[in-house]
Amino acid sequence: MTVKVEKIEGGIPHTTIMVAGLIASVVCIYLTYINVLTGTQLFSFFGGLGTVAALVWGSHTIKHLCSYGIGTGVPSAGMIAFGSGVIAMLFATKYGIAAPVVAVVLAAVIGLILGYVANNVLNMRIPVMIQSLVEMAIIGALVLMGYAAMMTGSFEFTSLTTGNVVILGLSLPSYQASFLGGALIATAFMLGAIAIQHPFNACLGPNWTQDRMLMLAAECGFLSMITAAVMSMPLIQMSAALVSLFVAIIGWFYTYSKYIELSQRDAAAWLDSKPIPEVEGQ
């Protein structure tokens, strides 16, 4: 588990991003517990903020891993992250208040074994492979848990499987109209899997800059949060869904305009309706 930071000139070191992302994400997911304490669902949007923190961290992990050249596309890394994360996350939801911590620990174990398998059994010999797959499994689990908390107001198994349309939660439609029964977890899976790989996939190239990629990661997170807020409408109170939507739109608008500014800063030129610049000899 040696860390070999490659070509990340200046900028924030990976360890800092990792620790900050982990703490911010877990804390945000825990903040949705205020829902239970206060008896409302207005604080569900913290789940979405937790996913943004985890995705920012995840995009940097992918950059870290893919700078070695893993032989296949960047998107596949996101897929393995969420494929292993979804299992850890759903198992952890059984543990009530301890769920986020259990998810982190269990995902780390799954990621560790997957990383060992990829690095040693498949003989890939990439120094950061094991660490990266551990991080990615944790991120996958946390992002899915964040979406679950945001869309249902809680991260416990019973609330994921029971719709709030029926009060007693015992009749047939209540199971079907739930986060799991309606398979909204499938949408959350893809939202996260694309959002985690897109920042690095979109920003790779010789003039890669860290702040631009991380801003894009936050933008992807908020964009996914907008749609998650819409999907939460039938599952939680409309007011809570609207609060989430409002927070997501503000965050998305800010990060998107910031990202365009940063792209403008880094681009060779910013032209509108101009021809290809003439280079002699063509």
Partner: protein, 300 residues
């Protein structure tokens, strides 16, 4: 009997929707240079060929379409759970999914192009304005038709998977079929129009993509026009056949021989396609004939 006739009708409708979806998907991804041909659009500036082609590297087509369709399906499911009529729900879901697709398209173009600053590739804002909207329109067609066919499979044919799960399955299949069929046609035939016809692009010519049109400079709308000739329709027929035959063999033959009927029909279909494939391959060998005996690796 009536239920079988009903099932066949739904199957045909789903196949038709899938055909439209495949054609729109491939045209959309070719306008955006998504998928594998993207590598050449990315490579060209590094070889000194500055271009005005849209470079929309969101992800490979299968994961990207996995998201668009799953998202459209998820939002449609949510609206349906709020007692909104399914057609309106699917339109709203597809609309929101297209918004996400459009935002991803712009960030991908800005990101990739800004990271190529070293080679002098400028960001063309007019490309963003004119191409993104066109890809969004095509994506809407692809998403709406695919989500509708998922809804039909779930609601009318009684498949056990909920809508978003069907969305992920058919979204990835749509992207896989569309990219497999359509990518070479755009990648070889359009990007490297200046290379010899009827031969692969020599590795030495990589990056020298065609950048000028009949008049003026080529943009990605020209590429969409070109893919719509063959790559798009072929992808559409490919995905349409996949959906149609898969549903058809189940709806008609599932009850035959305790489930073995559908299996036998499926194997027969596979064998038929194998024969067609072999026929095309042999036809090409006979009619095109061998290239000259390969000499040293010479670039043209």
């Amino acid at each position: 009997m009536e239920s079988i006739v009903f099932g066949i009708g739904i199957t045909a409708l789903a196949g038709a929707l899938a055909t439209v979806a495949g054609a729109a998907e491939n045209t959309e991804s070719d306008i955006g240079s998504q998928g594998d041909p993207n590598s050449q659009v990315q490579l060209a500036p590094q070889m000194g060929y500055i271009h005005r082609i849209f470079n929309k590297a969101v992800a490979g087509e299968p994961p990207a379409y996995g998201l668009w369709i799953a998202l459209g399906a998820g939002i449609a499911w949510a609206f349906m759970a709020m007692q909104i009529n399914p057609i309106l729900a699917i339109v709203l879901g597809s609309g929101l999914a297209v918004f996400v697709q459009g935002v991803y398209a712009t960030t991908a173009y800005l990101g990739r192009t800004a990271s190529l600053a070293k080679f002098g590739q400028p960001v063309y804002v007019d490309i963003l304005k004119s191409m993104t909207t066109v890809t969004m329109a095509h994506a809407f067609v692809a998403i709406f038709t695919t989500v509708t066919l998922c809804h039909l499979i779930n609601a009318a044919l009684g498949h056990p998977f909920p809508l978003p799960l069907l969305g992920i399955v058919w979204g990835i299949a749509l992207g896989a079929a569309g990219s497999a069929t359509g990518n070479p046609f755009y990648g070889k035939e359009r990007q490297y129009q200046n290379q010899k016809f009827g031969a692969g692009v020599p590795i030495a010519a990589s990056g020298n993509i065609v950048r000028y049109a009949e008049a003026g400079e080529r943009n990605s709308l020209d590429n969409g026009w070109f893919s719509a000739k063959l790559g798009g329709p072929a992808s559409g027929v490919c995905f349409g056949l996949i959906v149609f035959l898969e549903l058809w063999r189940t709806v008609l033959f599932e009850q035959v021989g305790a489930g073995w009927g559908a299996i036998i029909i499926g194997i027969i279909i596979i064998l038929v396609f194998t024969v067609i494939d072999r026929y095309i391959e042999v036809w090409a060998r006979k009619n095109y004939g061998p290239y000259q005996k390969p000499t040293e690796e010479a670039s043209s």
